[in-house]
């Protein structure tokens, strides 16, 4: 793969991370922001409330992983590792969210779509990083 193509694809990580981060501050269910849902849940069930911060956390981790590549291009594997951890967070969030919020699904907001988009971008970014890396 050419260098330019790789750098263009590297943007996927930044876009994906950014989308996840922004989605935290956009409506998810019934016009409520995810951050609002977090503040509502924290007063009811503190142990479950932190789950609603996972897109924000995942976004920050993905952006950190992408930033690592700007610092040193030899850290591709480390960057991929960090992004896999972030994807793991988001997968837990999605599975738990589907079981908890299934009743709200008809009133979905833009936040959920943006987060799923960011999640997919992030997965493509990790695959790209792993394919480009030819060193054992």
């Amino acid at each position: 793969m050419k260098k330019e193509e790789f750098e263009l694809l590297n943007l996927l990580g930044f876009i994906g991370g950014g989308m996840m981060l922004i989605s935290e501050f956009l409506p998810w269910f019934s016009g409520r922001l995810l951050l609002q849902i977090f503040f509502i849940t924290i007063s009811v069930a503190i142990e479950n409330s932190f789950l609603y911060l996972f897109p924000l956390i995942s976004g920050i981790i993905t952006l950190f992983g992408s930033g690592l590549l700007l610092y040193d291009k030899n850290l591709k594997l480390n960057s991929a590792l960090i992004k896999i951890v972030s994807i793991g967070f988001l997968m837990v969030f999605f599975f738990d969210l589907i079981s908890n919020q299934i009743t709200f699904l008809p009133a979905l907001g833009i936040g959920l779509y943006l987060c799923i988009g960011g999640f997919i971008f992030s997965i493509f970014d990790v695959i790209n990083l792993l394919i480009v890396n030819n060193n054992k």
Binding site: L81, I84, M91, V92, I98, S99, L130
Partner: protein
């Protein structure tokens, strides 16, 4: 001849020239200039120095002589050794990895060198111990995860226990094949299956120790107490992390790949199995 051999390898540009010619069998001057990005005079100077290792034929292309081919082979061999050295040094530099390596048993490596029969018996013993314990505790196994809810089934009996024990072995075999297949496809590494199998089985040692603790808590009815329930969860997390580390380290050591690459593999497996468990529990 020896002097010119070592002198030729003593400069970065000359090593690059040897690598370019060795990789493509032959090369032209234009190609060299394009790849090295240095002046024409510099390339001519280094080609003159390499006269015993590189020869120009009638078609104006540069080829390796026998000595040049030997130099190229030794360069490739050394590059591989240097990269391995780098991995080992990095492992010992980090204090966190130092601690993990201290916790990692060198037993399989020692036994593998001396007596293979002990190695085989140890592997079989671990599989049976895991099978019996998962059967007694009523745990459904998926990689390093145990789903203990089955023990609460009213119809729990010896038959279900046996099924769970067999499931433990199937789980071990399935993940072994998955890892072996993935490393062969992604990293193109081929190793002795039997050797990797016993290094892989060792990864289940921490989880078997956890199952033993869990069984003791169960028969003592200690899990009804909040403190012991909390302790059980803490032990599960601790031994799970240890198992994942053993798996990562052993894949890296047996398959001769970077520790980061094997960590990616184990993390993907870990996250996938966790997602499957969450999906089942929906």
């Amino acid at each position: 001849m020896e002097e010119s051999f070592y002198y030729a390898l003593g400069h970065d540009l000359r090593r690059k020239i040897l690598k370019i010619i060795g990789k493509n069998e032959y090369t032209s001057f234009t190609e060299l200039k394009k790849k090295l990005k240095v002046s024409t005079g510099t390339i001519y100077h280094h080609l003159d120095t390499l006269e015993k290792l590189v020869t120009q034929k009638k078609n104006k292309k540069y080829y390796l002589t026998d000595l040049g081919q030997y130099a190229y082979d030794s360069l490739l061999e050394n590059t591989k050794s240097f990269s391995n050295l780098d991995v080992n040094q990095r492992e010992f530099q980090s204090p966190f990895l130092k601690l993990l390596l201290w916790l990692t048993p060198n037993l399989p490596l020692e036994i593998e060198k001396k007596k293979k029969i002990i190695f085989i018996l140890l592997g079989i013993g671990l599989v049976f111990a895991g099978m019996i314990l998962s059967s007694l505790t009523g745990s459904f196994t998926l990689l390093f995860f145990f789903i203990p809810s089955i023990e609460e089934f009213e119809g729990y009996n010896l038959f279900i226990g046996t099924i769970l024990g067999i499931e433990f072995i199937i789980n071990i075999l399935l993940f072994f094949l998955l890892i072996e297949g993935a490393t062969r496809i992604i990293y193109r590494t081929k190793t002795n299956l039997l050797s990797f199998w016993f290094f892989y089985i060792i990864c289940y040692l921490p989880m078997i120790v956890y199952l033993l603790f869990h069984y003791l808590f169960l028969i003592g009815n200690l899990l009804d107490f909040v403190l012991f329930d909390f302790l059980d969860t803490l032990l599960l997390i601790f031994f799970q992390i240890l198992s994942i580390w053993f798996l990562t380290y052993n894949i890296s050591r047996v398959k001769d790949i970077k520790i980061e690459s094997s960590l990616i593999l184990t993390l993907i497996l870990h996250i996938s199995t966790f997602s499957i468990i969450l999906f089942i529990s929906l």
